[in-house]
Amino acid sequence: MRPVTRAARTAPATGPAHTATGPAGTAPPPRRSQRLATGVLLGPFVLLLLTVFVVPTLYAVYLSFFSTTHSGLGFGNAETVFAGARNYAAVLSDPSFTRGVGVTLLYALVFLPAVVAGALALALLFDSGLVRARRLSQTVLFVPHAVPGIIGTVIWLYLYTPGISPVVGFLDDVDVRVDFFALHMLVPSLVNIALWSGLGYTTVIFFAALRAIPHELVEAAAIDGAGPVRTALTIKVPLIRATLATVVIFTTIGALQLFTEPMLLSKATPLIGPRFTPNMYIFDAAFTRNNYGLAAAASVLLLAVCCLLSFAVTRGTTRRKKVRP
């Protein structure tokens, strides 16, 4: 999952640049060499898209309709047969799957506003020039993103675990008792890890978009008497709406695919079970329950939800664009 999301996440950075060159693309019909160049340049992308996305997706869809089927008690009579929607019915009737979806939605509901608002505020601060050592602070903010998710989670696991964590120890000393693994603290603990690793990255994306805003617009606003806060909220933020939408899509999809962090935290607390999130459910179905059909059906359902969400967000933003002249 990670590499895909990361590759996808880089899209917003190139997004604005792409739309900028878009209108200029009304060129005469390409020559042969140009077509060849296009082919060569697109080739690796198409090849990768086919081999690591399209083919596995189709295979998962295929798998989801088949099942190692037993009749009756099932001893020694397994055969793989077409099972229709049986796997889908099983996934949807499994309370652990629906609970996992609930957990991820709750997580997304907390994480999404936090990361978007936080990153936007930081990016606006950097852009306004109020921050002194901008380069340094940007780097410091960005560094956690360079730490692989697994390592980051292990670090936090250490900081969360009572008895070995200096943070919990310190809080304990000042009579603040925090159990990061308590039931109501699970989602906040996960959001905290995700914020730590994702905030700087999102800030950089927003900051890049803000830099692309024509300077005259900001100057004109200043001349018209808008203060820095007003300029930020009414000029800058609306101008980077497209970037905002893209970030929201990718963050939502990333949140729905929550896996690494809870998987590692599940080693520390029994409250996080092996089916805590939909992605963990898929992993458990395939590798603990040896039920590939079930895992495939859950994967296809998750993919469908991600596609629907992306579609909804894209539609929402383009329509709003059309309203504005």
Partner: protein, 442 residues
């Protein structure tokens, strides 16, 4: 210009990389090839995976005695810790060993997945006779035998005799006595009589088994699932009551919290199968001489019954083409005194063998000094006669167990034992249905 073309840096790197790749792949393929070729050779050595302590000594004893029929042994991790997944994957890839040890609860899953073979017709009358019905029940599904039982696991009540005596509390004989003893002990000393392990589905199942519950049953070619039948409900309510009254320590099995409570004398009892007695002695060395073992409390009314708390079986894999030889080895392993003596020679195991003739040699390997020299094997022999037969585990027990553990972990947050059982059942059914099994709730 250079006329002598020195190999470029990039060229050398590329060549090196290709060589490495080529040799790597070649090595891997040849290793695979030879391994599976050896597995397929019907006259090759038997291969054997086990997570059980002492198996290496046992295999060494066999190999010394039978140099013409050697066994290759590999230690594996226990089922829940990854052993089950390893075995499933190996079976799918066609390179599972001939013989594997599994715990009773995982047997139906492996039988359904076609990992372990139906060995009904390979069991000799002598072997069938040596192991009694209370052992075969753990290996039999719908009348067919899928494994060879190694041990028996009647739950016992290990307790701190000194603590109970000091507070003038009799060793409880019924579960009502047990609750009363718990109340008295807690009131007089603040000590818990026992521990509730939220991560021990086998213990809860053992209690349900003793009370007459059936979580899974096989009726007319259909699985019948009911985690909350009347006996299980009774068990769930009983333990919920003890937890609510704060008479038990609630702590995961083998957790630091539990072991330190035992070591500090904050818990005065431990309900466990015979295998757990040596484990207790090893984990809490400071309790030496203070612990004694008693029969598990009864529900009262009629003949006493005891539940099974975790036993091991040896299965022959479906893919093996040396099943007869494997069975010969298994018969030796489960019924000869040399085998049990070698297995337990480390002195750190209190395994109770299923074969009647092995109890005496097994008892000589375990020093009961920790339990004040008590005749443990004699007591377990009596209790094993009371074992309930006919319990059936589910076809995806590891998943069911983790669901149950999930629910029980939420006990401090208002989930009840009965609620956890109900949730585990609800999460088990979809999985069984998607496998195409015929399932109904009773």
């Amino acid at each position: 210009m250079n006329t002598t073309r020195a190999p470029s840096r990039r060229g050398v790197l590329a060549a090196g990389l290709w060589t490495a790749l080529a040799t790597g792949t070649a090595g891997a393929t040849s290793a695979c090839g030879s391994a599976s070729a050896a597995r397929r050779d019907p006259d090759g050595p038997l291969t054997f995976w086990s997570a059980l302590r002492g198996t290496d000594a046992l295999v060494a004893a066999w190999n010394a005695e039978h140099p013409d029929d050697p066994v290759e042994f590999d230690m594996m991790t226990s089922g829940l810790a990854g052993g089950n997944a390893k075995l499933s994957n190996a079976a799918r890839a066609g390179n599972a060993p001939d013989i594997v040890s599994v715990v009773d609860a995982d047997l139906p899953g492996f039988a359904i997945d076609g990992v372990c073979a139906d060995v009904t017709d390979l069991v000799t009358p002598r072997l069938r006779d040596q192991l009694g019905p209370e052992a075969w029940t753990n290996a039999t599904l719908d009348g067919r035998v899928y494994g060879i039982p190694l041990d028996l696991g009647p739950m016992m009540f290990a307790h701190r005799a000194d603590v109970l005596r000091e507070h003038r509390i009799d060793v409880p004989e019924t579960w009502d006595d047990f609750r009363e003893a718990g109340r008295r002990l807690k009131r007089r000393s603040g000590i818990d009589l026992a521990t509730f392990h939220p991560n021990a589905y086998n213990v809860l199942a053992c209690h349900a088994m003793q009370a007459g519950g059936r979580w899974f049953a096989i009726e007319d070619d259909s699985w019948v699932v009911d985690f909350l039948d009347a006996p299980t409900r009774r068990v769930a309510a009983y333990w919920q009551g003890l937890i609510d009254e704060d008479l038990l320590l609630v702590a995961p099995g083998s957790s630091q919290e539990w072991l330190s409570a035992l070591a500090r004398g904050r818990v005065a009892g431990h309900l466990v199968g015979p295998w757990g007695l040596a484990a207790l002695a090893a984990s809490v060395p400071g309790g030496a001489g203070k612990w004694r073992v008693a029969p598990v409390p009864q529900w009262g009314g009629g003949r006493p019954v005891v539940g099974t708390d975790g036993v091991s079986l040896h299965v022959i894999t479906e893919g093996s083409n040396r099943k007869e030889r494997a069975m010969r080895f298994l018969e030796w392993l489960s019924t000869t005194p040399e085998a049990i003596t070698a297995r337990l020679s480390g002195g750190r195991s209190s395994l109770f063998p299923a074969a009647r003739g092995l109890v005496e040699p097994a008892s000589r390997q375990f020093d009961p000094a920790y339990y004040g020299g008590q005749d443990l094997y004699g007591l377990v022999t009596e209790q094993a006669r009371l074992l309930r037969t006919g319990w059936v585990w589910g076809p995806r027990m590891q998943a069911t167990a983790t669901s149950l553990h999930q629910g029980l972990a939420r006990l401090p947050y208002g989930t009840t034992v009965a609620g956890a059982l109900e949730a585990a059942e609800a999460e088990t059914l979809p999985d069984m249905r998607s496998l195409g099994l015929s399932v109904r709730r009773s």
